[in-house]
C-alpha cells in the first residue's frame, strides 16, 4: 500500500516562535524578498504562523496557528492548472512542477488557504549566501509558482536509503524541516495510511479539526484544537 503523507499540528503546543518558518526557508532555498517587496505582499514563506488575539484588555490571549499548504485530497489548485504543473502524486502530495509552470497563477487564486506563492522577480542571494543553498532543492525562477512540498526531497532520500538497506521506512524517519525544528513538538509528520503511525493516532483524536473544512478540500493537515 502506498504512503499518504500527513501532518498533525497541536495548537495547544504552538508557541508562535516561528522556528518552522525559518527552518523551511533554509531547507527549501526560499529567497528573501526585501523590505519593500514584502510590504507589497510579495514575500514567500511556505509556512506562516497566523496570529490572532482573543479577549478584551487586560485579559488578552494571543493565539497562533501555523499554516503550511494543507496538501488537500480534493485540492482546488490542481484541476485548474492548464499544464499539470500542479497535480496530485501517488503519495497524496499536491506537487508543484516548476519547469511545467507557465505562471497563470490560477492555482493561487483557487487555493482557499492562500498557501501558494509566486516568483515575481528572479530570486537572488547576496554572495556568498548562495553557498548555503540546499542542493537537493531546485532554485525557482521568475514567473513560476511554488509551495510547501512537505520537504519531499527528504522523503525521497529516506526512501532511497531504506531501499539500499533493504528495510521498510520507519515511522518518524522522515520529517519536514518545520517538524524537525519545532521546539515544542507541536507538529507531527508521518504516513496516514499506516494506522500505527503517530500521525494517524493523533489525527483520529476528537480534538482534530481541519482548516476551512466547509470548503470541501479534505486537507491532510489536522489541527488539534486548543483545550486551554
Amino acid at each position: 500500500m502506498s504512503r499518504r503523507w500527513g501532518m498533525v499540528i497541536d495548537l495547544d503546543r504552538c508557541t508562535g516562535c516561528e522556528a518552522c518558518v525559518v527552518a523551511c526557508s533554509a531547507e527549501n532555498n526560499i529567497a528573501t524578498a526585501g523590505e519593500s517587496q514584502a510590504a507589497k505582499g510579495r514575500a514567500i514563506h511556505w509556512i506562516r504562523v497566523e496570529r490572532s488575539w482573543e479577549g478584551e484588555f487586560p485579559n488578552v490571549r494571543v493565539r497562533f496557528r501555523p499554516v503550511p499548504c494543507q496538501q488537500c485530497d480534493a485540492a482546488p489548485c490542481e484541476p485548474v492548472c492548464p499544464t499539470y504543473a500542479s497535480y496530485h502524486n501517488a503519495e497524496g502530495l499536491n506537487a508543484q512542477v516548476y519547469n511545467r509552470c507557465i505562471g497563470t497563477r490560477y492555482c493561487a487564486n483557487a487555493c482557499p488557504y492562500t498557501g501558494r506563492f509566486f516568483n515575481w522577480f528572479q530570486p537572488s542571494w547576496d554572495k556568498p549566501l548562495q553557498l548555503q543553498l540546499n542542493p537537493d532543492v531546485s532554485i525557482r525562477e521568475a514567473g513560476v509558482m511554488e509551495k510547501c512540498t512537505f520537504c519531499y526531497q527528504r522523503a525521497l532520500v529516506a526512501e532511497s536509503q531504506a531501499e539500499a538497506e533493504k528495510r521498510p521506512l520507519r515511522d518518524g524517519e522522515v520529517s519536514p524541516a518545520c517538524v524537525q525544528s519545532c521546539p515544542s513538538g507541536a507538529m507531527v509528520f508521518g504516513d496516514l495510511n499506516d494506522p500505527a503511525s503517530a500521525v494517524s493516532r493523533l489525527a483520529g483524536l476528537d480534538r482534530g479539526v481541519k482548516l476551512l473544512e466547509e470548503v470541501g478540500t479534505f486537507p491532510k493537515i489536522t489541527y488539534l484544537a486548543r483545550e486551554s
Binding site: D73, A75, C77, E78, P79, C81, Y84, S86, H88
Partner: protein, 174 residues
C-alpha cells in the same frame, strides 16, 4: 472555352433574356444549363427562371460537427490517459470537463467543414479566366451562353439585344 453574353441593366430584362435563351436553346443547339448568369447581388433562382439550387451543405456541416466532437472527446480522453495524472480528486478522464471540450470541438468541426464545403461547392478559389465582365461590378447583370456553336452567335446576339441588353460581348480563351 468561348461564350457570348449580354449585359443587362436590371433584373427584369435579365429575366426576360434567360427566358428567351431557354426558348431558343433547342433551335440554336445548346443546353439550358449552358446559360450563364453573373450578378453583383443575389438573384432569386425561381424568379429568374433558373434551375433551383440545391446543396447538402447543412448535412455536411452536421457531419463535420460529429467528426469534430468525436475528435475533441478522443483528444481529451487520449491525452489524459497517456500520462494519467490525477488532479483535485477528479477521475483521470472526467466526463463534465471533457464534455465542454467535446462541445467546442463539435462547433469547430462544423465551422471548418462549412468553410471547406462552401469553397468546394462554390468552386472557389479559382483564378483562371472565366466568363465575366467588370461591368458586373457596376451593377450590370451578365446573361450569356457558354460553349455554344459559334455559328449561332449572330442569332444569340440578336436575341440578347431584343431582350434589352445594353452591350453584347464575345468572350473566348485560346
Amino acid at each position: 472555352m468561348n461564350a457570348i453574353y449580354g449585359l443587362f441593366p436590371d433584373t427584369d430584362s435579365a429575366r426576360r433574356a434567360v427566358k428567351a435563351l431557354g426558348e431558343v436553346s433547342r433551335r440554336l443547339r445548346f443546353q439550358p444549363r449552358q446559360i450563364v448568369v453573373v450578378s453583383q447581388e443575389p438573384l432569386d433562382d425561381r424568379e429568374m427562371g433558373l434551375p433551383r439550387q440545391h446543396t447538402w451543405m447543412p448535412w455536411i456541416a452536421a457531419c463535420g460537427g460529429i467528426v469534430g466532437g468525436t475528435a475533441g472527446y478522443a483528444l481529451a480522453a487520449f491525452t489524459q490517459r497517456t500520462y494519467p495524472l490525477p488532479t483535485g480528486g477528479m477521475p483521470v478522464v472526467a466526463l463534465w470537463p471533457a464534455s465542454v471540450v467535446t462541445y467546442e470541438f463539435t462547433m469547430l468541426g462544423a465551422i471548418l467543414t462549412t468553410i471547406v464545403a462552401f469553397l468546394a461547392t462554390a468552386r472557389l478559389p479559382r483564378y483562371g479566366q472565366r466568363v465575366y465582365d467588370a461591368a458586373v461590378s457596376d451593377g450590370m447583370i451578365l446573361v450569356g451562353v457558354a460553349d455554344s456553336d459559334v455559328n449561332a452567335w449572330r442569332d444569340l446576339e440578336e436575341t440578347l439585344y431584343e431582350q434589352g441588353a445594353e452591350r453584347v460581348r464575345q468572350f473566348s480563351t485560346a
